[in-house]
Subunit: 336 residues, 2 copies
C-alpha cells in the first residue's frame, strides 16, 4: 500500500501559500506488536495549525521542515497489533495530514459509529466542541440573562460556543463573514443576532445588538472585531482567549498608535478578566464534556455544519481558504 501525505515544505512569510506544503508518497509498513495501521477517513483542519507552521514561541513545538503536518483524524483500523482493536474499528487519532498511519494502540480512542456520524469526533463531539465547552463555561462563566458575543460564529468552535450559551440562558450575538453565514447562525443555530464583520458600521451594529453591554466575549478572531467589542464590555466581563485568526498571517505588529495601554486601562477600570487557554489544559475533565455534549446533541440542541473537501491533495488549498474565512462550518478533508 502507498501512503500520500502532506509535509511542511517551508515556513510561511505572511500569507500561507501552496508552496509551503508538499505532497509526498511512501510505502506503508505493516502494524508491529502494539501498533495499529490506520486508514484515515477524515482529517480535521483547524486554525491552530497555522501556529505550528511558524517557529516563533507558542504553546506547542513547531512542525519541522520536511515533517508531516499534524492534525486530528478519524480512521479505520486496517491492521491491528493489539488485542483491543480489530480491523474495521473506527478510532480517533492524531495522525496528521496523510492517508495511512502507524500509531501506538495505547491511548487511541475507539468511536462508536452508532451514536453519531464519525466525523463529529473531530468537531462538535471532539476537539472543537471541547474547546468551545471549556473555554465558555470554565473561563467565560456565562450566567442566565448575560450577553455573550462570539466571532467566527458559523465556524466549528464559534457555532458550539453560541449554542452552549443559549442553553445556559444567555443572549447570544455572533459575528461572521457575510449574509449567508449570518443567516445560518440565526436561523439554524438559534443565535439572537449575527453581524457581518465586513460591515463598515460594525461598531455601531454591535452596540445596537448589545443594549445591555457584553458580559462574555469569546475571542477567536482578534483584530477589528476585538476593537469593536472592547468598548462595550461590562464591568467584571470575561474574555476567554481561544484564538486570534485575524493575525495569524501577520509578519509584524500593525501600525500605531500602540493600543495596548487602552486595553490594559479597560481591563483595569472594568475589572475584566482576560485569559488564554488551550483545550488540552482540560483533558482531565473530558468526561464532563462528553456527557453534556452528547446529551445536547441527542436532544437536537447542538447543531453543526461540516465543510467537507475530498482528497488529501486538496488539504493545502482548503487550509489556506480557511485562514481567509472561505470555509463554512467545520472544515474536514475526506480521504479518497
Amino acid at each position: 500500500m502507498r501512503n500520500r501525505r502532506i509535509v511542511l515544505a517551508s515556513r510561511p512569510v505572511g500569507e500561507t501559500v501552496a508552496e509551503n506544503f508538499r505532497l509526498e508518497t511512501e510505502e506503508v509498513a505493516g502494524a508491529a506488536e502494539g501498533q495499529l495501521l490506520l486508514k484515515t477517513l477524515y482529517l480535521s483542519l483547524d486554525p491552530y495549525m497555522r501556529g505550528r507552521m511558524s517557529d516563533g514561541p507558542s504553546y506547542a513545538a513547531p512542525v519541522e521542515i520536511g515533517a508531516i503536518m499534524t492534525g486530528g483524524t478519524v480512521c479505520e483500523v486496517v491492521e491491528s497489533g493489539s488485542p483491543d482493536f480489530a480491523p474495521g474499528d473506527i478510532v480517533q487519532a492524531f495522525s496528521g495530514w496523510q492517508e495511512y498511519s502507524l500509531v501506538p494502540a495505547k491511548g487511541t480512542r475507539k468511536i462508536n459509529p452508532s451514536l453519531a456520524p464519525v466525523s463529529t469526533a473531530l468537531g462538535v463531539l471532539g476537539m472543537t466542541g471541547m474547546t468551545a465547552y471549556f473555554g465558555l463555561l470554565r473561563l467565560g462563566e456565562p450566567k442566565p440573562g448575560e450577553t455573550v458575543v462570539v466571532g467566527a460564529a458559523s465556524g466549528a468552535v464559534g457555532s458550539a460556543v453560541g449554542q452552549i450559551a443559549k442553553i445556559k440562558g444567555c443572549r447570544v450575538v455572533g459575528i461572521a463573514g457575510g449574509a449567508v453565514k449570518c443567516d445560518y447562525v440565526v436561523k439554524e443555530l438559534g443565535f439572537d443576532v449575527c453581524l457581518d464583520h465586513h460591515s463598515a458600521t460594525l461598531k455601531h451594529d454591535l452596540k445596537a445588538a448589545c443594549p445591555d453591554g457584553i458580559d462574555v466575549y469569546f475571542e477567536n478572531v482578534g483584530g477589528a472585531v476585538f476593537e469593536a467589542v472592547l468598548p462595550l464590555m461590562n464591568n467584571f466581563g470575561r474574555i476567554p482567549v481561544c484564538g486570534l485568526i485575524a493575525g495569524y498571517n501577520a509578519t509584524g505588529l500593525p501600525e500605531g498608535p500602540d493600543r495596548s495601554p487602552l486595553l490594559m486601562r479597560s481591563i483595569l477600570t472594568k475589572r475584566l478578566r482576560v485569559q488564554g487557554f488551550i483545550v488540552s489544559d482540560f483533558g482531565a475533565s473530558a468526561g464532563e464534556f462528553f456527557r453534556d455534549m452528547s446529551e445536547w446533541f441527542r436532544l437536537g440542541r447542538m447543531k453543526y455544519r461540516e465543510d467537507v473537501v475530498e482528497g488529501i491533495e486538496n488539504a493545502p488549498a482548503a487550509f489556506i481558504g480557511m485562514l481567509q474565512g472561505r470555509n463554512f462550518g467545520k472544515l474536514l478533508i475526506k480521504m479518497g
Copy 2:
C-alpha cells in the same frame, strides 16, 4: 472655625500641574444630629486620584470642577451628633483634601490608636494594604516557590505586595526608581532582588533576576516595566491589574507599532490570566484582611515607610511629585 480645602480647579491636560488645584477657605458648621465634625489628622494621597481628575470613563465618577478632591483620611472627632462617638475619638473617613469635615456618623470606622500608629489606617492596615492583599492573594494566587514581580516596590501597595508574597514563600523581585529605593526594598523589606526601572538594561536585568520566569506580575505601573515583564511570564501566569501610573498623564495613545496583538498572543499561548480589580470589590471580605495583616504587623513581618508632608497647602505639589515617582513610601499629608 475655618476650614481650608483643595478643590479641582481644572482638569489636567497631560501633566498634572499646580494650576489644576485651588486652595479655598470656608466657615465650618457644627455637627447636626447623626453627624460628626472631624478634624483631619492625615490625608492619604494615592495614584488613583489622578483618574478622578479626568472625565473619561472609569470605575468611579470624576470629581466635578470646583468640588473638593476626594481622599481617605484619619481624623479626630471634634463634635459628635451621635451617641456612638465622643470628641477625641480617632476615626477613618473618606473626607477628602481638607482640614475639617462634616460626615455621617453611620459607616464611619473607629480606630484603636493603641494597636498601631493611626496613619497606618490609610496604609498598610488600610486601603493600600487591602489593595495589595486581595490583588495578590485572590487574583495573583501565588504559590510557594513561584516568582512574583511587583513594580513601584517601595510604594504603599508594592511594598505590601512583596512582603505578603515573601510570607507566602515566593521569590520576590521588586522594581523601583533609583538605588536608594532599591536598597530599602531589599534590605528593609526583604525582597530577594530589586531592579532600577531607570536602567537601560532593565529587560536583561529582569531576565537575570527571574531565572525560572515570572508566575505573578502585580501590575501597578504599565509602560516599559510591563514590556520587560511580558516575555518572561510563565505558562499559566497571573497578572492582577491594580494601576497603570506610567500612563496616567498621557493625553493619547503612544506611538506605534500597535503592541496589543502581541499582548493578546502572549495571553493566548501562555494561557495568562490578566484581571483588573479595585479594592472596593473586596469590601465584604475586609475582616479576613484585617485579621491577617494585623497579625503580620504585630509579628514585625509587615514593614512600611511613610513619606509625610505637612500642611494641606502642600498637597498638590506632593501629589504631582508622586505621579513622577518622587515620593518614597506611602504619601501622607499631615494637617497643621
